[in-house]
Symmetry: C2
Amino acid sequence: MSKAVGDEGGAGDRSEPAPQPDDKSTGAKAPGKLSAAAALGPSWTKVSCPCCVSERVEPLVLVKLGEKVGPETKRWLIRVIGASQKDGGAALLAHPGEDAIGDIIVVSAPRCTLLRATEELGLCKTYRNGDMEAFSYHDRDNFKDSDNMEVFLTLAERQYVVKYELDGLRARRDLRIPGLPDGCTLHNRDNIWQKLGSAGVIVDTFPLHNPGKLKSLREAWYSGNQLAQPLDSVNEYFGSSVAFYFSFLDFYTWSLLPPALLGLSITYFSGEVQREMVESVSGPRVTGADGDDSGPAVSGHMLQAVFSMLWSTVVMELWKRRSSSLSYRWGTLHLADRFAEPRPDFHGDLGVNPVTGRVEPLFPGWQRDLRMALVSLPVVGMFLGLVVLGMLCFYWGEAQVKELHKDWDSLLSQTLIYMPSVLHILYTNVLATVYKTVANRLTEYENHREESAFQNHLTAKVLVFTFFNCFAVLFHIAFFKQDVPLLRKRLASLLIVTQLVNQVTEVVIPFLVDRFISAPHRKEREDDPEEDKFRNQSTLPAFPGLFAEYIELLVQFGYLSLFSCVFPLTAVLLLLNNLTEIRSDAYKICRLFRKPFTPPVANMGVWQLAFEVLSFVSVVSNCWLLLLSPRLQELGQEGGMSGTNMLLLAVLVEHLLILVKVVMAILIPDEPDWIRKKREHIEYSSMQALRQQKLQAEES
Amino acid sequence: MSKAVGDEGGAGDRSEPAPQPDDKSTGAKAPGKLSAAAALGPSWTKVSCPCCVSERVEPLVLVKLGEKVGPETKRWLIRVIGASQKDGGAALLAHPGEDAIGDIIVVSAPRCTLLRATEELGLCKTYRNGDMEAFSYHDRDNFKDSDNMEVFLTLAERQYVVKYELDGLRARRDLRIPGLPDGCTLHNRDNIWQKLGSAGVIVDTFPLHNPGKLKSLREAWYSGNQLAQPLDSVNEYFGSSVAFYFSFLDFYTWSLLPPALLGLSITYFSGEVQREMVESVSGPRVTGADGDDSGPAVSGHMLQAVFSMLWSTVVMELWKRRSSSLSYRWGTLHLADRFAEPRPDFHGDLGVNPVTGRVEPLFPGWQRDLRMALVSLPVVGMFLGLVVLGMLCFYWGEAQVKELHKDWDSLLSQTLIYMPSVLHILYTNVLATVYKTVANRLTEYENHREESAFQNHLTAKVLVFTFFNCFAVLFHIAFFKQDVPLLRKRLASLLIVTQLVNQVTEVVIPFLVDRFISAPHRKEREDDPEEDKFRNQSTLPAFPGLFAEYIELLVQFGYLSLFSCVFPLTAVLLLLNNLTEIRSDAYKICRLFRKPFTPPVANMGVWQLAFEVLSFVSVVSNCWLLLLSPRLQELGQEGGMSGTNMLLLAVLVEHLLILVKVVMAILIPDEPDWIRKKREHIEYSSMQALRQQKLQAEES
């Protein structure tokens, strides 16, 4: 049956070249063609089951082909996309775009394919009783709106399903691809999409923007002065991973209010910052004269430090609760990627998966662990070592050059003074680039089964390195040079400079680009055929992912929690920064990039962990910085405490604070009570169902 | 129907008194009567379903009645025990013992009741494909040996089921108990067993020993010189909580080998202990002369400390893996007590449980949390404060008395010298007794739904207190007095004295009791009727629970991990102690006590956590003790390090070690790979089954 469909699709393609000459004139009609009913329009491949016939086919994903791809290859590809799954196809709908020889294929998905994939991905949807339940294809009629895909699934989910099906295409037998040289044959179980990508047939696959929805999203998101973000709409349009980022940004920004208020009041009441700033410039320990009012200043310092240490744990625990309610709301609480097909790059010996009983590549876990322990860990360690080495070389070089400048004092030596910094920046950048490639290779080599595991391990690797790179200098100043005023200067300048730079790169430049480079294009496109609009989207740069956004937040959080007691206004600056950050990030993702594919996720993944780890490291660093504070040392000497006793006291306080944080983290439940009940109810029903099923299997 | 059964049981009882006068002569036949087929013997209540009829009824549990209980009350009780569950009975089998007016009832369980309870408890049993799967009553024929209860369920499980059913008896309507004054009426939903207990009708309920099985267990366990314990038989006879204790004791004892060997070799190669012992007696810092060979000694010290810190984490992680394989093997991996009926003492407003949909008492979780935070926590803290107060008073009193003795020096003052110690010991004991009652009340007040949660919270409370009580003095010496030699002396004497005392109380005294007090009884019993044997078991003391055994191990583990670097032979002494401990504990539980009811458990519960916490605290204490070590301080001074720098180094090492331990704990998976796969398979099947069930519910 599906072969017939495929052939029909092919026939449709073959009939296409005829009207090609007058395609320009029918350009205005083309949008109608693309969104015409699938059963009527000649260009969409036909759906195989009656329930999938719909009035309108929504273009979801654009596949961009290589320039040299012949029409026979394109026809074959359309046939594969349209063929049913039992014939080795993706069971999607394909449209050849303007003409059969054009370099795009527009892909959509029929209802049945969408619903089946929803079950496979383990998404939860609203059941008829109003609860969220794991979707089941067989039981589809009991789920709300399951007849209207555009309401039932979010746009991001529909597009992800298309990608999921395309990525899952595997050759059923050895196969020559029509129109390609003999070298490019597909072997049994080869991943078709990957193979075509490496053969240059497919240049790009990306989801299409929906201009109407995008416009209303933008209006609700950042056009006005609204304080709350339309997170549900963001989830609907961009998918849960983007929505989780913006939810966290939102949550985190509002949670900066208490430390900001505290920082402001401490600054106001003690007038301390200005004084300390002056002091740090004029030299640390000359201000013994105003030791009389050092009491309140020190207690302000300590209050700030202790508050920020406890605050960070409370915030992270509350975020976990918020995160689990969001994932319940967005139906991603019970994702089943452990049980789904492995990701395309996963390789291993074919075997029966002991969990699901399906035949698929298997790779033993101990071998992955071994690879991580013996290869990944040492390599990552080596790169961290290279960062430290670079920093040491920089300090050594700087000292050498200063020495040289003192001896010579010429123009040459004056320019030489900048050499170490320039070299260090170059070195750091090269190292970061090399490291990113290496991290990707290492994670590939670790051979993770699930896409989420792959992403988490990759993120963790890059994250550790980037973080180390950012904080190495600050830690060096704090722990080895033990120079609090320098640290304060450095921190203040980092906060102000990086925020200014970020605001410029994230708001001003994008705005200029959009106004003066993209806008003329846009006007021109107004009466283009829809295919051209789609093709124009491919000229936008690809979305670079959320890594940069998250790491910016993490570094911020690091400044705040690790060194906040040095510079109490950190939270205020961050709060101001983030209020604009929300808007600029929203603007960026809506206007400046292609729409990204975003897999459904249940939480922030490894970022959650990174923030939590940082919040524990902050206790160590804050206690240390308080100990270094010249005021506190004076106070200790006045109180007759020796340096060793001060240190002991600091260690005691640190251990106590860590204990309090651990206890708080345990005591605040990670999910609200009502979510726990829903989850347990689902577990209980599953258990009951398993028993029932065994019984029925027995009876039949 | 069940009323008829009850009446027949009653009739059987009524016909019993007739042969009573010649009961002595038919004494030899009495065992036959008890174990005769239920359908034939007149004394066992009849079973209601044909599948439960068996050749032999196994006496499982003995219910001891109060002395004043009349035969009509006993008849009523037998009827309730025998009635089917839908008539509000326990669906068990009851036997009135020798005669209708005797004060015992012997209870057994028919097959159907056992199987249904197995499902309710969530026990796993061997499926026909050889895997362990959660038992399902409907699917019973596919489970191995499900027709032979004595193979299918362990003795401990069968006995626990009887207790579970008896404890679950609730009145269906307001009811007068025959033969009791009017004050003792049962109200609707009253727990019958609890009410009868408080009314004095039921004095005791305990499981019966099976002499044949006990004999073969004893032979395999401790009669010979065997090294391995028959853990599966222990699980079969005493249940999984006892088996988990002995498994852990076994595992822990063998894992003492590496530190014991290390301790021995350090002692042998450095000859250090003797020297340090001498040194600690003659005074700490006078041996500057032999500073030449202090290098190896210190490194031995440090090696021992670092080794024991890492060792404790590895041992606990490996134990977790062993523990999860054991719980798979014993079928307790998927216990469903969250979904089972709440424990008898649980109270709350009647409502629909959102998880299971059953009507039962509900108690909001936040209210429990509030009670823990506002009542339990302060009270426990207060008692810990009282311990510290007692210790301070003791030190103060001792100083006062010494002063007094110096001034007076009479016989009176000499006896007064012992007063503070005596008072302190008295105070500590009184405090411990009061605390145990208070802890029980507090945990009752917290109103936990599941028995396991109740036990864990109670254990945690008593555990913290006992531990504090044991270690307060040692911590005081180590952290406040900072007197390493005193600590070493105290530790060595504690290790040797407490072990000797334990060996005496656990082996010698029980042996003597058994030989000279119990043995004569036993001989006399040889040709007693079986009922009398049962009754005689009630003269044995009740099993005091595993708390004392676990706390002994925990305190040991504390000596070893917290202070091992002070006294390297700790592990050797503990190893020797534990090798006999295994046997003496086995002897104790087999011979000296009544058989305990043991609920099926999946792990050691809160004890696991206690050991893990201790292993982290050990890093702090070891680093501190190393820092205090006079040798290391000398070495530091020779190396030109100031006290502050030494302290900094110690703090750094401590943080690094904690980091390493955390990383190790994360990297070593908590369950072996094969268990993870089995678990995921069960989860996957449940998910699939849930979908199927919804579909079928829809179709029907």
